[in-house]
């Protein structure tokens, strides 16, 4: 067994415990996030991965107090940033956190950016909220940030409105805005989905260098396992509103324990498989309003046994911080 990963700093910056976020529909309750726990240490990069619709964005929105309530409800849970319980803060307190401590790169930049202000105005506003500096200084920093994220002719592009940028440029403007207030934690929700490999690498490297310089923590939300394998210190795999496997990057990629994680790794497209039909995990993520009894993954699982349809699976400990929510695989592998 490999050594457990030692975080660069031992202190926990963010702690999420048993978070449940539900949405009330007219005749059902969608349990989008259903008992999620994880932590992020100072200076660490944690990745939250999982299939579309499994609750990643809603988890992030809950941390920032941005879940629309109603129809949403925080049914249970704790979210602590250092010593502050974020769930008990007032809107004013949350705004302060959002401007200074945590910033978010939203999954859909076009909806998160304000269409009636130029991107320069929006980035300078983010700088201003965090720190009062002269207008010239704001402009200078803004141009610096746009250069860092690889926008050509930044002076000229300051005056562009969001719709005048390409999809990937908008995404990078969001990253620049998030970095503008020197946060302790960046929650980046699919920050590089629209970016080609070279620009993506530039953004990932930029975040890494800021992390080294300022011990910023990053919570990466992504479905891209290639990105995860390059940036993550630790990985949480999410399925149907639950964490099903967690561990260091090497533990999860080299010794995946949960059948779902194994399925995800098997369906990666790669050049060696070109032209052939791709493997995809049969079936789809259950509707959060109608989750199956027992293990939520059992209807799609090739390793499922009768108990899986009945018993809710607990976390099995593989040691060194590697946990997986699949008792049958755990007991089978212990026997071998």
């Amino acid at each position: 067994m490999e050594e457990a990963y030692a975080p660069p700093h031992k202190d926990t910056l963010l702690l999420v415990e048993d978070l449940r976020v539900h949405f009330r529909g007219h005749d059902h309750v969608a349990r989008a996030v259903d008992g999620v726990s994880f932590d992020v240490h100072t200076g660490e990069t944690v990745c939250l991965v999982g299939e579309s619709g499994c609750g990643k964005t809603v988890t992030a929105l809950a941390i920032l107090g941005l879940v629309p309530i109603p129809p949403g409800v925080i049914a249970s849970g704790k979210i602590r940033l250092r010593d502050t319980n974020l769930l008990t803060l007032t809107e004013e307190g949350l705004q302060d956190i959002r401007g200074n401590q945590i910033s978010m790169v939203f999954q859909e930049p076009l909806t998160a950016l304000n269409p009636v202000f130029t991107i320069g105005d929006q980035i300078m506003e983010a700088i201003q909220v965090h720190e009062k500096v002269s207008e010239n200084e704001r402009r200078r920093r803004c141009i610096g940030l746009l250069t860092d994220v690889g926008i050509p002719s930044p002076e000229a592009r300051l005056k562009d409105y969001p719709h005048q940028l390409s999809g990937g440029q908008r995404q990078r403007v969001m990253v620049a805005m998030a970095l503008a207030c020197h946060p302790a934690l960046i929650i980046a929700d699919e920050p590089t989905t629209a970016l080609d490999v070279t620009v993506q690498a530039q953004i990932l490297n930029l975040m890494k260098s800021i992390q080294h310089a300022s011990a910023m923590s990053v919570l990466y939300i992504t479905h891209d396992l290639g990105v995860v394998s390059t940036v993550a210190d630790r990985v949480y795999v999410m399925y149907a509103g639950l964490i099903v496997e967690q561990g260091t990057r090497d533990q999860v990629f080299q010794h995946p324990r949960h059948p779902y994680t194994r399925g995800l790794l098997a369906s990666l497209p790669s050049r060696s498989k070109r032209g052939k039909r791709l493997y995809s995990i049969p079936g789809s993520v259950p509707n959060p309003a109608f989750k199956p009894k027992g293990c939520p993954f059992h209807p799609r699982c090739s390793a499922a046994i009768a108990e899986c349809a009945v018993d809710f699976p607990g976390m099995c400990d593989y040691g060194h911080g590697h946990l997986s929510r699949c008792p049958p695989v755990y007991s089978r592998e212990r026997q071998e």
């Binding site: 050509p152 629209a194 497209p269 509707n287």
Partner: protein, 324 residues
């Protein structure tokens, strides 16, 4: 291209410049040369992949083909007919045949319509009865991995990837001959990506559909495209059959793209590659080769004059001296 194949769409010398207006009088101070001479052709039942760096003009090419933007130069020939001069009204019947999956799903869906209504809209044009429409709608939702029960929900109640799939379902609802997919699966995880890729392939085989497949992910493009056009700063720098491009990339930019594909199979500890040098601006592209500022092989002759395509193999064109 094989002479037996019937060309569905042909694009010649396409250009689109956006004016940059400055100052009190909003005078045009410069142009963003978003698309600066793009040529390619798509045969019936085939797919062309368009790849390239963020901001190189891919989405603009898509919007110009559909005439959502007027081109500044060039010709768009669809089924042998030059559609460049057509008015929006004349384009209307063609819109049904040429569908698009937009890059930004949220803003392309009507927030006041349930996703079911959005999908049914296209079916109504086909004149289907209400029952048939709903049946087809449910079938489409299931095909993209969403349950039919989600039909009466509004776009904001979906996750990012779910909305993207609604966009795919909507484009597939109409019986079209060309589907332009602008990053149609970028927000999706590998498993659902695989499902959508397989779906697109099946439909192509069954209905003889053609795709223009825009993506920054070369792995994905490799699956779905017969030919690939690699774009850099507004024009195509390499054009080849997909397998040729992967086995024998010639343009230095294509080589960088291929070598930088992050993959779980690669050594986990290997450093991410980035391109060195200035990111060129579409506002004043350099004379000569547009990749010169970042090219490891650059020499003086790369910095002057237009660099034309050289043919380096059957169906393989490259805009680089060094490639031949």
């Amino acid at each position: 291209m094989d002479s037996q194949e019937r060309i569905l769409l042909k694009v010649e010398g396409l250009k689109k410049y956006f004016p940059v207006r400055r100052g009190f009088f909003q005078r045009t101070a410069a142009h963003i040369k978003a698309v600066d001479g793009v040529d390619f052709a798509i045969a019936e039942g085939k797919s062309v992949g368009l790849v390239g760096e963020s901001g190189c003009g891919k989405s603009t090419v898509a919007r110009v083909i559909l005439k959502l933007l007027e081109p500044d130069a060039g010709r768009i020939v669809y089924k042998g007919r030059d559609i460049t001069p057509l008015s929006p009204k004349e384009m209307k019947p063609l819109r049904k045949e040429m569908q698009i999956v937009f890059q930004d799903p949220f803003s392309s869906l009507n927030p006041r319509m349930t996703v079911g209504q959005s999908i049914e809209e296209g079916l109504r044009i086909l004149g289907l009865s209400k029952n048939r429409r709903q049946g087809r709608r449910d079938e489409l939702l299931e095909m993209v991995g969403l349950s039919a029960m989600t039909a009466d929900r509004y776009p904001h109640e979906f996750s990012g990837g779910q909305r993207q799939r609604v966009g795919v379902a909507r484009a597939l609802s109409v019986e079209s001959s060309l589907i332009i997919c602008d990053e149609p699966i970028s927000a999706l995880d590998v498993s659902i990506q695989a499902q959508i890729i397989n779906l697109l392939k099946d439909l192509q085989d069954r209905l003889d559909l053609s795709y223009l497949f825009i993506s920054h992910d070369l792995n994905v493009v490799g699956y779905l495209s017969d030919t690939v056009a690699v774009m850099y700063l507004g024009h195509v720098v390499e054009y080849a059959r997909a397998d040729t491009l992967f086995e024998d990339p010639r343009h230095p930019y294509t080589r960088v793209l291929l070598s930088a594909v992050p993959s779980v199979e690669a050594d986990l500890t290997s450093k991410i590659k980035t391109l060195k040098g200035e990111v060129p601006s579409p506002m004043d592209p350099p004379p000569g080769c547009k990749f010169q500022g970042r090219c490891p092989l650059v020499e003086p002759r790369c910095k002057q004059g237009e660099i034309d395509f050289s043919r380096v193999g059957e169906d393989h064109l490259v805009r680089c001296w060094k490639a031949t």
